[in-house]
């Protein structure tokens, strides 16, 4: 088991583009994050019908994020 824990992982596939040198898995993760960010902006957020009136802009009590004193 110790032998298995110490076994080196197979070498990763790397992408090279000018000065950029990045593993394929890291590039895929970054691409997935960018896709998720774009979807979060583009997709509508589901809002239940039984939700009460929304709070006014700024803060739920109508103030605008300024300090209270």
């Amino acid at each position: 088991m110790i032998q298995a824990a110490a076994a080196p992982a197979p070498p990763a596939t790397y992408l090279d583009w000018g000065v950029i040198h990045i593993s394929l898995s890291n590039a895929a993760i970054i691409a997935a994050m960018l896709l998720l960010f774009a979807l979060a902006i583009a997709l509508p957020f589901p809002v239940g019908r039984d939700r009460g009136a929304a709070a006014p802009p700024g803060r739920p009590d109508g103030r605008d994020g300024r300090r209270d004193r």
Partner: protein, 218 residues
């Protein structure tokens, strides 16, 4: 000796007792977040967007990181390397960290593009940036604490960089004891304080509105 002609002095009125430190602390805590805003049940209309989800997703991932990390400290390195439950918890810890970093960076992108430091929220932004940097340090010391070949490789690569910037004597990445203690005690404490302050500031100042929704401040 002559008699005094000065009018009699009225008895001094007792001065009110200065508030004790507990009363001052209680007052401070009560006024840090306005009433009803510590756990609000209503939010402005613009908060109904997926972009606003990533902050709380970061907190949820952090909770899994802390719980799985605590379980790893109970079992120890032989447990997380050699037993099936140990390897499972080890993987949960790794992947919750991956998720934590990913959603935190998406949260950062969203807040950057909506200029979330507006409306007196400078310290909210600053504590978020510091928590991000602290998370990188905590994750880095976690890689050094795996007790495997990966940890040895990373430490020998990192020592040259840290020595080059002159901090290698204080941050000795070749010392597994120091790195493990930083990972499980020091950096989580720093990160925890930063996250608590960040969340309290969000509740104090409210969620930042989109740029076109912000009203002029009088």
């Amino acid at each position: 000796m002559t008699a005094s002609t000065r009018p009699p002095v009225p008895p001094a009125t007792p001065r009110p007792e200065p508030p004790s430190w507990t009363a001052r602390l209680r007052d401070r805590i009560a006024h840090t977040v306005p009433p009803g805003q510590a756990l609000p049940d209503r939010q402005p209309e613009y908060v109904a967007s997926w972009v606003y989800v990533f902050g709380v997703a970061t907190l949820a991932a952090l909770a899994v990181v802390l719980v799985s990390g605590a379980a790893l400290t109970v079992g120890g390195e032989t447990w997380w390397h050699t037993s099936s439950p140990g390897r499972f918890v080890n993987s949960v810890h790794l992947w919750s960290v991956e998720l934590f970093m990913a959603v935190m960076v998406i949260h950062l992108w969203g807040k950057f593009w909506m200029a979330a430091w507006r409306g007196g929220r400078t310290m909210t932004w600053v504590t978020g940036v510091l928590a991000f940097l602290g998370s990188i340090g905590t994750a880095f010391t976690g890689y050094l604490s795996q007790t495997n070949l990966d940890a040895q490789w990373i430490s020998t690569q990192a020592k040259d960089g840290l020595n080059a910037v002159g901090i290698g004597a204080y941050v000795n990445v070749l010392d597994p004891g120091q790195m493990l203690l930083w990972h499980v005690v020091l950096l989580p404490l720093v990160l925890g304080v930063l996250v608590v302050v960040h969340v309290v500031l969000v509740r104090r100042h409210g969620v930042v509105p989109p740029i076109d929704v912000e009203r002029p401040v009088r």
